[in-house]
Each structure stands twice: as C-alpha cells, then as structure tokens.
Symmetry: C2
Subunit: 198 residues, 2 copies
DNA sequence: GGCACAGGTTAACCACGGTTCACGTCGCCG
DNA sequence: CGGCGACGTGAACCGTGGTTAACCTGTGCC
C-alpha cells in the first residue's frame, strides 16, 4: 500500500504488462490509420481484450494519446540531454551524437515518429501545449549545436535547418523496410551530416 | 452545351469558383486539424455556405479528399516529367531541377504537402491505390536520377535516399514561416543537394 | 472461508457528424 | 411569361464510436 506499483505519470520499467501493451499496440494502430480512425475496440482487440476494458487502464482515449505523445517527447528530450553531456565541448561531436541518437530512435520507433507529428493536433489544448514545450526544448538543443557550427547563421535559420534534418531522418517510416537496418542507419547518418554542414 | 465548362476529372483553370474554393479551403482545414477532425460544416463555413451545400459539388466528403490527393499527385508527377524533359541529359542538372521543383511546390503549398502524407490512409482502398501509383511514378523519376549519379548504389538504396530528400524538403510546414521565402528556398536547396550527393 | 479489488465482459446510452430530403430562390433560355 | 436547372437552406435520419453501467471471475490476504 505504501508503494504504488504504477502511476500514470511515467513509464513503469518493472513490468511490460497490459497498460504498456495497450500503449504499444495503440501506437502501432494510430501510426497506421491515424488516431481518429482507430476505435477503442480496435485497440482492445490488438491486445486480446474488448474495447471497454481499456477504461480500466486509461481515463479516456484522449488520455491514452496524450500520455503516448508526452512520453515520446520526454524520451527524446532526455536522450538529447544525455547525448550532450556525454559528448565533449566540440560542436561537431555534439552534432554527430544528436544525429546518431535521432537516427536510432527513428529506426527503432517508426510508429512513434509517425504518431508524434500526425496526431499532435488531436490533443486537447492543454496537453498539446505541454508536448510542444518539450518538443521546443528538444529542438533548441539542436539549434544551439547548429548555431555553434555556423556562427554566421541566425537563430531562425538554424531552426529551419534543424527541422529539415528531422524531416530527413524521420523519413524512415515512409521508405518501407526495403533496406537493412545498418544500411539505413549509415545512409541517414551520412545524409544528415552532409545536409547539416551545407 | 457542346463544351462542358467543368468536369470532376481535372482542374478547371477557367474559373476559380466554388468547387475550387471548397477544395482549397478544405485543404487548409485538413492540413491544420486532419481530415477526420474537420466536419463538412467546417468546410462549408470556410467558404460561406452551410454544410450540406457541399453535396452540390462533391458526392461525399471522401470523394473530396480523393480528388484533392489525386490532383496533388498528378501535379507533382507532371511537374517532375516537365523538369526532366526541360533539363538536358546531365543527371546533375536533372537532380537540381527536381530539387528546385519540389522546394517550390513545398513552399507554395504547405497545406497540400501536409495533407498528402497525413490523410492518404483515410482514402478508400481503390483511391489510395491510384494515388500510390502516381506517387510511385514520381519517386521513380527521382530514383532514376539518383541512380545515375551513384551507379554503385542499389535501387532500394536510391529509394531510401529519395524519401529522405522528400522528408528534408517537405519539412517546411513544420518550421513555421520564421524565415523569408527566398532564404528558405536557398537553404533547403543547398541542404538537399548536399544530402543527395553524400 | 470470505472479502476486496484488479481486470474483463456485454448491453445500453448518447453525442456527433455525414448524408438525405423537401423545400426555396435566382437567373437564364425558349 | 413559364419553367427548368444550379445552388442553398434547415430539419431529419442514422450509423459509428466513445463512454458508462451492471455484472462476473479469479487471486491474495486477513
């Protein structure tokens, strides 16, 4: 009773059970067809339960989406900050680290990448604001590194560069799995590096 | 009577009237909130009529979306083929032309770019198939040029490169309008060129 | 054993939104 | 003038889908 085994606030590393299954299955479905087109029954069926069972784990379908997007933003932001502390002071190393991280994330979680920028608009304004705040902080880490590498460029310019790099790297969900993971990783990394220093 | 002034099949250059207004307004709304979240009433209101009035111009909301996506794919494909015939036999020139074209299109029609890859899944299978066919042909033009520039790369590899370039160029809707159009154009072009030849 | 509670189930509820209907109005053509 | 066709409107219809309600079952703990 003193220690709650799980909370709606953050990932529960201890057990990969239900709730987590639901989030994962929902992410997959949302990525394929868009959150508005996926029914609660569909999500339930994907984990072997009926629709309403979802409500034992989430307050609403919207709450489910909100938590999904929040977690993604948090993981990305935390990852970027980890990368920046691990890399030294050399902006080139930092950039390489950020690119490697984003490439890995995109290749490992194509569904999350898709959902994040497709269904942000489906969130209630309060949740959307919070997600955008996290995203902005993530972007700003990139902008900082890019600015260090190109001192002549304005902040707006660097932001545009950062978004272009995200677009490039996040293209993976669109290019089907024709290429092996290592090949894709190498290709995206090379292209992103070349584009970043253009 | 002998010459029908408009047909559902292709754009009606003669007059920018209703039907066309509707498609344009709908594209804007769909881009902002996603087609599933936009009501027929919303689209109507955007052009100053009530919801059901839409049905005087389109068989259904889905038909509207289908026509929208078909037109986009057709415009892109036609543009690419135009570019390739205008450019000479030099693959480098061809690539530059394709990039310039895609950059212009993306900067001129951010809403269409957004809708095209967000709402393809909302189409009936028959329509979706047709759109994908057109898209595939568009992509193949890029793949051909990229293959000519990098003979050692496999077709799958070139396809991945092409999608990455699309992602890069199509990032414009995400980076707000902070940068002037010419600056954005120059930046995207430079990054795309650098990435393409990486 | 029995109680509490987590986790499911089915049936019902209800709002929303696409679509259709029956009805106006305006402009043009014979 | 009379009527027809294009274009709109407000009201009604109805399927879909999120949500809730009432009820069941197993498991762990006193």
């Amino acid at each position: 009773m003193t220690a709650e085994p799980d909370s709606a606030l953050h990932a529960d590393a201890a057990r990969p059970s239900r709730r987590e299954q639901i989030l994962q299955a929902a992410a997959q479905l949302f990525a394929e067809r868009g959150s508005r087109s996926v029914g609660v029954d569909d999500v339930g069926a994907a984990v072997g339960v009926t629709g309403p069972a979802i409500y034992r784990h989430f307050a609403s379908k919207d709450a489910m989406l909100a938590e999904m997007l929040l977690r993604i933003s948090e993981r990305l932001l935390a990852g970027a900050e980890q990368v920046l502390t691990d890399a030294g002071d050399d902006p080139a190393d930092q950039l390489a680290g950020l690119i490697a991280f984003q490439v890995d994330f995109a290749l490992d979680n194509p569904a999350l990448i898709t959902v994040q920028d497709r269904d942000l608009g489906a969130l209630a304004e309060a949740d959307a604001r919070q997600v955008r705040r996290l995203q902005r902080r993530y972007v700003e880490h990139w902008v900082g590194v890019l600015a260090a590498l190109a001192p002549e460029a304005s902040t707006a310019e660097c932001r545009a560069r950062a978004h272009a790099l995200f677009g490039l790297i996040n293209s993976t969900p669109h290019s089907g799995g024709r290429l092996s993971r290592p090949a894709m990783q190498a290709r995206l990394t090379a292209m992103a590096l070349a584009a970043a220093t253009a």
